[in-house]
Amino acid sequence: MLQSDLDYTRIQKEIELAQRIQVGLLPKQPPVVAGLDIWAGFRPANQIGGDFYDFIIGRNRNLTMVVGDICGKGVSAAMLMPMTRMVIRTAALGRHNHTPRDIVNRSNSLLYEDYTNTDMFATTFVGNFNPFNQTIVFANAGHSPVIYIPFGQSAQLLLADEAPIGVLQVCAVKNQRIQLKRGDVLIIGTDGLVEDYNLGIDLTTSYNWLLRKIELLVDRSARSVAETLFGSLQDLSKAEGQKDDQTLVVIKCV
């Protein structure tokens, strides 16, 4: 065997190990929360990537959801994923009842120096669900728009209001609030769900396609919505291959 083949094989094995670690850091199952049907999935474009999601049950029984996307792809993005995930998780489990805004602010202050030194940033969504009043409070720092489908209505995009973590010394993100009702669906994804430029589809068209697709699926379970969407995206990118990591968290109020 040539030395280059041996090197390639060794590198491939290292990447497979890294992939196992990354997958190991993601939640094995979605949490069981009264009033919600939750499903989440992750499909890296390469074997490893910079997308992540997390579910944290706090002492007050509230659920904190995190979806993040480290800029770039592959090894460089994957290297910052565990650190970022842990900083946000630690901030969410802090002593005081932190709101999503507080969690993002705190995480940004802890991560800013490292992200500056590595020329990186992370788009971040943090949401907190209160099962007693069925309210989600969330903060969106540069992350893909949250897709919100109120029961019986059209899908709408809830946009980020501040730049990603790692861009500015202070991330002045705000708390946004949704009162969930039975049948409402909330989808938090990463931008890999709409990145398919090689097929000649621009961002606006991609989002329109995604919203119309989701509107047809809202009667299904959260798992079925996620799996159907992933399947459709896979069909779309068959010719050119998947371009970016894809992460999907589907939350349905039941």
């Binding site: 770039g72 500056t116 020329d119 893909s144 980020a160 209001d161 501040e162 500015l168 990145e195 430029y197």
Partner: protein
């Protein structure tokens, strides 16, 4: 991707053409490093001929912005096409960068430096 570099007085301009993504960020990073070697750096990145830009490219622009501002300079953006502008808006990087319609406007935006530096 093509890079064209030029100066207008103290302002250094980089014009990019094509796709600006993780596969070709290195020349842009290098241009920024060279440009900020002189203190302070007044930079304009013209993206009028860029039809695609990904998060790696955004990260390089953010890095250049931070370094330029550390030296009391700036990195400004101009000529965004609709799809590229949408990316800046969705990530809220439109709140971080000064973005101009044209290169002339961006250079004019630095008019104060003649009096200050």
């Amino acid at each position: 991707m093509e890079l064209i570099s030029r100066n207008m007085g103290k302002v250094k301009i980089l014009e990019l053409t094509g796709s600006f993504d993780r596969l070709n960020v290195e020349p842009v990073r290098q241009w920024i490093e060279n440009a900020i070697a002189s203190d302070p750096a007044f930079l304009v990145v013209n993206l009028n001929k860029v039809d695609f830009l990904d998060s790696s490219a955004l990260a390089i622009l953010v890095s250049g912005l931070k370094k330029a501002r550390q030296q009391r300079g700036d990195l400004r953006i101009c000529g965004l096409r609709q799809s590229v502008r949408l990316l800046f808006e969705l990530t809220r990087l439109d709140k971080v960068f000064e973005i101009y319609l044209s290169e002339d406007d961006a250079v004019q935006g630095y008019a104060y430096i003649e009096a200050t530096f």
